[in-house]
C-alpha cells in the first residue's frame, strides 16, 4: 500500500531531518509512529499524505510513484487517505455536519446523496446531537471526533492521525483509540503518530520510532 525507499527530507538548504527511511505499510495494518518532539513525525505524516515531496528516495503510494504524478493526480490519490490533525482543522463557519461532509462534497456528490450517510457516521462517533453546531462551540473531544469523522467519511484505505489524543483526557483518549481500532478492524490501515507511551503500551502492535531522523521499525 505504501512503500518508502531511502527517503530523505530537508527543508530548503537546511540539514536533512529525515534520513534513509525504508519501510512499508501493509493493507489492513495498525501502527504507531512515535519519537521525541521534533523528531519529524509530522513531516513523515506529510510525506505519507503526499503533501510534501521528498528531497531524495522513492515514495510509492497505492502503486504510484508520487514524483511522477501531477498535482491533480495527487489530489485524487489523497482521496484514498484520511488525515486527522492535532489541531483538528475544522472550518469554523460550517456546521459539524458540513465539515464532516466536505470530502464527499469535494467528490461532487449532492447533499441529498450523502445526508443519511453523514448523519449516521456522526451518530456513530457520538455527535448526532451536535450535527448543527459549529466548531467554536464544540469541546476538544467533540472537535477531535468531528475531525476523525471527516477523515473516515469517504472510507479511506489509509488513515493518518497526528497526535489524535493530544488534546483530550486519558479516558477520552482511550475511547478515541478504540475508534481507530474499530476502523482498522473494518479494513482501514491506520498510522497513529503519538508520543504517549502509556497509550501505546495498551496495544501490542507495530511501532515506527523516529530518532535523530532515522526510523526504527519494531514489529
Amino acid at each position: 500500500m505504501v512503500r518508502f525507499e531511502n527517503v530523505g527530507l530537508r527543508y530548503g538548504l537546511g540539514p536533512e531531518i529525515l534520513r534513509d527511511l525504508t519501510f512499508r505499510i501493509q493493507p489492513n495494518s495498525l501502527q504507531f509512529l512515535t519519537g521525541p518532539s521534533g523528531a519529524g513525525k509530522s513531516s513523515l505524516l506529510r510525506l505519507l499524505f503526499a503533501s510534501l515531496k521528498p528531497s531524495r528516495g522513492l515514495i510509492n503510494l497505492f502503486g504510484h510513484d508520487i514524483a511522477s504524478l501531477s498535482k491533480d493526480a495527487l489530489s485524487t490519490l489523497r482521496r484514498r487517505i484520511g488525515i486527522v490533525f492535532q489541531d483538528f482543522r475544522l472550518l469554523d463557519h460550517m456546521t459539524t455536519f458540513e465539515n464532516v461532509a466536505l470530502p464527499l462534497r469535494v467528490l461532487g456528490r449532492s447533499e441529498e446523496s450523502y445526508r443519511a450517510e453523514v448523519a449516521e457516521l456522526l451518530h456513530w462517533v457520538g455527535l448526532g446531537h451536535r450535527m448543527h453546531a459549529r466548531p467554536p462551540v464544540l469541546s476538544g473531544g467533540e472537535k477531535q471526533r468531528a475531525a476523525i469523522a471527516r477523515a473516515v467519511i469517504s472510507r479511506p484505505q489509509l488513515l493518518l492521525a497526528d497526535e489524535p489524543t493530544g488534546n483530550v483526557d486519558p479516558a477520552l483518549a482511550k475511547r478515541l483509540l478504540r475508534l481507530f481500532i474499530e476502523l482498522n478492524k473494518s479494513g482501514t490501515s491506520v498510522v497513529i503518530a503519538t508520543h504517549d507511551i502509556a497509550l501505546m503500551d495498551q496495544f501490542d502492535t507495530r511501532r515506527l520510532v523516529l530518532h535523530e531522523g532515522r526510523l526504527h521499525d519494531y514489529e
Binding site: F49, S51, K71, D72, S75, T76, R78, R79, I83, F85, R89, L91, H93, M94, T95, F97, E98, L102, P103, R105, V106, L107, E111, E112, R115, A116, E117, A119, E120, L121, H123, W124, V125, G126, L127, G128, H129, R130, M131, H132, G141, E142, R145, R150, V152, I153, S154, R155, D169, A171, L172, R175, R178, L179, E182, L183, K185, S186, G187, T188
Partner: protein, 331 residues
C-alpha cells in the same frame, strides 16, 4: 451504517457507558433539504468592502455608459435631422431679380428626384431669422441679405445633389448649395469624441475593478488559507477550489453590480422626472435641445444591465485567475 458506509460496526465505541459523557442522548434527525453552505465564508469585512467598491465602480461605469448612449442618440438625431435638409443660398446680384431667382431655384430643386419638399423663405421670413441679431423694424431692401430656399431630402434613397448643384450654377448665378457637411462632420467628430471618452472612462473603471478584485481575492485567499489547506487535505483539486472562490466572488460582483447599476438607473430616472417636471421652462428647452428627453431608452437600460453582468463576470474571472495563480504559488 447503511450501504456505501460499511467501514464500521453498528455499535459505536462511544455508545458504551463510560465516565465521560459524550454520546448523544437521542439521534438527531438528518438535516432538512436546504442550500449547501458556502465553502468560502460569505460575510466578511473584506467582502462587504469589495461589494461597496464594485457598487461604486458599477455606478460610475453605468453613468458613463448611460451618458454615452444619451450623447450618441442625441448626436444621431441631430445628424439625421440636419442630413435630411440642404439649403440653397442666393446672394443678391446687381441687375437680377431676387424673387425670380428664388422661384427658379425652387423650381430646379423641385424637379430633382428624391427631394420631398422645397420651401423658399420669403423676405419677411428671412428678416425673422435675422431678428435676434439685427433687431426689428429693419428693411431688408437696404441690406444685401441672401435669400434662402430650404430643401428637404428623402431619407432613403438620398437624392444625388450634383445635378442640382450644376443646374443652379448655370441658371441662378450667385447661388450656392449648402449641404451642411462641415456641420455634420463637426458633430460627428464631437459625438465620436464623447463616445471614445466614455469608453476610455469605462476601460479605466473596469481596470480599477479588476485590480480591486485581484487585491481582494489575494486578501481573501490569505484570510482563507486554512480553508484552502483543508480543501487540499480532503482531496480537492485546484479547479474545485478556484470554482468555490469564483462562485463567492461572482455573488459579490453581482451584489455590488446590482447596487451600483440600480443607483445609476435611479439617477437617470430622477433626471427624466426632473425634465418632465420642468417641461416648458427655458432651461428645460435648452437641455431638451441638447439631450432630447434625457431618457436613455431601452438601449441605455440594456447597456446598464449588460454593465452589471460584465462587472460580475469580470469579478468572477479575475478571482478565478488570481486563485489559480495563488494556488500554483502554494505548490
Amino acid at each position: 451504517m447503511k450501504d456505501g458506509c460499511t467501514i464500521m460496526n453498528d455499535a459505536s465505541p462511544f455508545d458504551v457507558d463510560e465516565s465521560v459523557p459524550i454520546a448523544a442522548p437521542a439521534p438527531a434527525p438528518p438535516p432538512a433539504r436546504r442550500r449547501e453552505a458556502s465553502i468560502v465564508p460569505v460575510d466578511s469585512i473584506a467582502g462587504r468592502a469589495l461589494v461597496s467598491v464594485i457598487a461604486i465602480m458599477t455606478f460610475l461605469a453605468s453613468l458613463t455608459v448611460g451618458g454615452v448612449v444619451l450623447i450618441g442618440a442625441a448626436a444621431g438625431e441631430w445628424q439625421s435631422a440636419v442630413a435630411r435638409e440642404v439649403t440653397i443660398q442666393i446672394r443678391p446680384t446687381p441687375g437680377r431679380d431676387g424673387d425670380a431667382d428664388v422661384a427658379t431655384a425652387a423650381k430646379i430643386a423641385g424637379a430633382i428626384p428624391g427631394i420631398t419638399d422645397v420651401r423658399p423663405y420669403s423676405k419677411s421670413e428671412s428678416a425673422a431669422l435675422l431678428e435676434p441679431w439685427l433687431g426689428t423694424g429693419l428693411s431688408l431692401d437696404e441690406l444685401p441679405v441672401p435669400r434662402i430656399v430650404v430643401v428637404k431630402l428623402a431619407a432613403n434613397p438620398p437624392p444625388d445633389l450634383a445635378p442640382l448643384r450644376r443646374a443652379l450654377a448655370e441658371r441662378v448665378p450667385g447661388s450656392s448649395l449648402d449641404d451642411h457637411r462641415g456641420w455634420i462632420d463637426r458633430m460627428r467628430a464631437m459625438a465620436h469624441s464623447a463616445v471614445a471618452l466614455g469608453l476610455g472612462v469605462l476601460a479605466l473603471v473596469l481596470t480599477a475593478t479588476v485590480l480591486s478584485v485581484m487585491f481582494a481575492t489575494r486578501g481573501a485567499m490569505a484570510a482563507n488559507r486554512p480553508i484552502v489547506e483543508v480543501l487540499h487535505f480532503v482531496g480537492a483539486r485546484d479547479s474545485f477550489i478556484a470554482g468555490e472562490f469564483q462562485r463567492h466572488f461572482l455573488v459579490l460582483g453581482l451584489k455590488g453590480g446590482m447596487i451600483g447599476g440600480a443607483a445609476a438607473l435611479a439617477v437617470f430616472g430622477l433626471a427624466q422626472l426632473i425634465g418632465l417636471w420642468l417641461r416648458g421652462t427655458p432651461g428645460e428647452d435648452q437641455v431638451g435641445a441638447l439631450f432630447g428627453t434625457f431618457s436613455i431608452g431601452v438601449d441605455g437600460y440594456a447597456a446598464v444591465l449588460g454593465q452589471v453582468m460584465l462587472i460580475a463576470v469580470v469579478t468572477a474571472l479575475t478571482s478565478r485567475l488570481t486563485v489559480r495563480s495563488t494556488l500554483k504559488a502554494l505548490e
